[in-house]
């Protein structure tokens, strides 16, 4: 029990439970299967990118260029499938391939020049997004193929609400689950995944990790191509959800994603973070946003409430950690 109380995830989980109780008490419509599945569907897009961001944060980096990567992957994918023919496998292949290449560029810049990752990604965010605007002229793509639209409506299982309207577990959520499982396997069971924590734990000077026999370049390449992979997948998922491709609709959401991951216990200093925590962070923000409307809170208060919840959750956890440290010091002195 005490070990459980030391974990940051426990606090986020308690916040999710508390919030669910409050919202449900005010509006019983909240705790329905339909609303739950709707939330899962709509937060898949941010959730997929959050997994990529988690991997970057664990390795001690910060990447904000992923929204531009997702946008470029999405746009090129949309141009190809509307202009020529295609299928859903091709759509994902194109977006993921672009994600991997752009991720590789990030990794190369970070490794060869040894520049702080956030600076590199601010630069590449602008270059990737800027070039897309230059070549696309900012043109929106409104009409995506029918098969693309149909795929978006695919459900793993289907239920019906009281009005006879179908709902269910969306294919989009299934894609998110796939990304989660993939990341979990890599982080837990591969040497590469374990070495991520070691690299992230030693801060800006990677010397100790290198002396321990870790190939830093390989780790960086993995981290940023995996980020690129999740961005590519997220780009297609966003197009599936919205059915319109606008070059400016994803860029600008970087901080929402990073906030969710940090809220879930990942450290901006590197070396810490779990998938469970990240998912809880994503859920907390999604439930909060959904719940505010259901609780009939005036929209002017949204940002204030969201900020307060982030602060409360993060400081409760920090307070607990400090108490643990003090206890440890007291034991040593005694």
């Amino acid at each position: 029990m005490r070990r459980l109380m030391q974990r940051h995830e426990t606090y986020v989980f308690l916040a999710v439970v508390a919030l669910t109780i409050v919202v449900t008490a005010l509006n019983p419509n909240f705790l329905t299967m339909e609303n739950f599945l709707d939330i899962l569907k709509s937060c898949s897009f941010l959730g997929i990118m959050a997994i990529g961001v988690l991997v970057v944060l664990i390795s001690g980096g910060v990447d904000i260029s992923f929204t531009a990567v997702a946008t470029v992957g999405q746009y090129v994918m949309a141009v190809v499938i509307t202009r020529y023919t295609g299928n859903i496998a091709l759509a994902f292949t194109i977006a993921i391939a672009i994600g991997l290449v752009l991720g590789l560029i990030n990794a190369a810049l970070i490794y060869f020049f040894n520049i702080p990752t956030i600076i590199v990604s601010i630069g590449t965010l602008n270059v990737f997004y800027g070039l897309l605007i230059v070549f696309s002229g900012g043109k929106w793509i409104y009409t995506l193929p029918d098969w693309f639209h149909k795929f978006a409506e695919t459900r793993v299982f289907t239920l019906f609400n009281s009005n006879g309207i179908p709902y269910g577990l969306s294919i989009v959520t299934l894609i998110w689950i796939f990304v989660i499982v993939l990341a979990a396997l890599i982080l837990r069971y591969t040497v590469l995944g374990r070495s991520l924590y070691a690299v992230g734990g030693c801060g800006f000077d990677k010397g100790p990790a290198e002396r321990a026999g870790i190939n830093i370049f390989r780790v960086q390449v993995f981290v940023y191509t995996f980020m690129g992979f999740t961005a590519g997948v997220a780009g297609v998922v966003q197009a599936l959800l919205v059915q319109t491709v606008a070059p400016n609709s994803i860029v600008g959401k970087e901080l929402n994603v990073i906030a969710a991951v940090v809220l879930g216990g990942a450290s901006l200093a590197g070396g810490a973070g779990t998938i469970v925590g990240t998912l809880l962070g994503v859920f907390l923000l999604a439930i909060l946003s959904n719940g505010l409307t259901l609780m009939r809170v005036p929209s002017y208060w949204y940002d204030v409430v969201i900020g307060m919840v982030i602060l409360t959750s993060v400081s409760a956890s920090a307070l607990q950690q400090r108490r643990e440290q003090q206890r440890a010091i007291a034991v040593e002195e005694a």
Partner: protein, 329 residues
């Protein structure tokens, strides 16, 4: 280390690309040079405006063109106007990001005899004229008339705006609410205006939430071109196309599919291409020494109503499933 050189070379090439792309021949000197500066480049709204600016270049025989920053950044816009002053253009037409930030540089331009025309900024200081293609009061009220018609004059509804700080969206909402209070007393606003209209995904999500929070919801009026399509998507998903009316500002080509299947009911807008053309046209009249007077005719747009230094032309358009494909934007 060799790899380092390759990466540097690649970087240098990347940086050169924009310079190569933007390098173009200098324009001739014997025609008027009229530059249009927009809030942000690369979005459909201002792409459409550029079509109008280019049409003006052809039809009016002037050297008119459009530029704008990559983000809606007031400081960058000020810098662009400064550059145009140094370049010595004859007139500058601006859709301001920030009216106050532009005032000093507008004054400097006019000291040098450069004409300043603005759009969507009637209270702008330092301008020669501002031109509006809609009457904002009328525009706001028209939304409520259309919403009332679709809702049968009574029931619960919600408002979407782009953000709580977009001046025009909130002005239209203010005007409409005031109008509804006397004209449509049976229509009930369920919650404060929701800031999601520039994000289709968020608008869809908010609509789903509203449907749960207010099961009797009968209508949504949306300002910001992505609000109504997002709402329409949510209604499609929940099979409520006939239950809830959606009215608002949209780009015709984008809204066409929603208007056709009835998930959206009515769109209202003006053509930004007309605005681009009209600003250049007004600038040319002033450069040629003509005076702007009441009742003047802007080619293809209609008659001018002059209100101080604000030129009003009523060019509001109604967008329905039947005509959405005909606008060309």
């Amino acid at each position: 280390m060799k790899k380092g050189i390759v990466v540097w070379a690649a970087l240098a090439l990347l940086m050169l690309t924009p310079a190569l792309l933007f390098a173009k021949a200098e324009a001739e000197d014997d025609v008027y040079e009229i530059a249009t500066v927009v809030k942000i480049t690369g979005i459909p709204w201002f792409n459409r405006m550029e079509v109008g600016v280019n049409r003006a270049a052809e039809e009016l025989g002037v050297n008119s063109y459009q530029i704008g920053p990559a983000d809606a950044d007031p400081a960058q816009q000020v810098r662009m106007v400064e550059d145009l002053i140094s370049k010595g253009v004859d007139a500058i037409c601006v859709t301001p990001n920030d009216a106050t930030a532009l005032e000093p540089v507008f004054n400097r331009a006019r000291e040098q005899g450069i004409i300043i025309i603005t759009h969507e900024s009637p209270d702008q200081r330092g301008k020669d004229y501002d031109i509006e293609l809609i009457d904002n009061e009328n525009f706001g009220r028209h939304h409520w008339d259309m919403l009332a018609e679709q809702m049968g004059g009574s029931g619960q509804y919600a408002i979407f705006v782009g953000s709580l700080t977009v001046p025009l969206h909130n002005l239209w909402a203010d005007v409409g609410l005031e109008y509804a209070a006397t004209q449509y007393p049976d229509m009930e606003l369920v919650t404060t205006r929701i800031p999601c209209g520039e994000d289709q995904e968020l608008s869809k999500q908010r609509t789903l939430e509203l449907l749960q929070a207010y099961p009797d919801l009968k209508g949504i009026v949306g300002f910001g071109s992505l609000g109504p399509p997002g709402a329409a998507q949510a209604l499609r998903e929940k099979g409520l196309i006939d239950e809830v009316a959606v009215v608002g500002t949209v780009l015709p080509a984008h809204a066409a599919q929603y208007l056709k299947d009835g998930s959206m009911d009515h769109g209202i807008l003006w053509d930004p291409g007309d605005a681009g053309y009209a600003m250049t046209w007004v600038a040319l009249q002033l450069l040629e020494g003509k005076e702007i007077v009441n009742g003047m005719n802007v080619p293809g747009l209609g008659t001018v109503v002059l209100d101080g230094d604000v030129i009003k032309v009523d060019a509001m358009i109604d967008i329905t499933g039947a005509n959405a494909d005909d606008f060309g934007f």
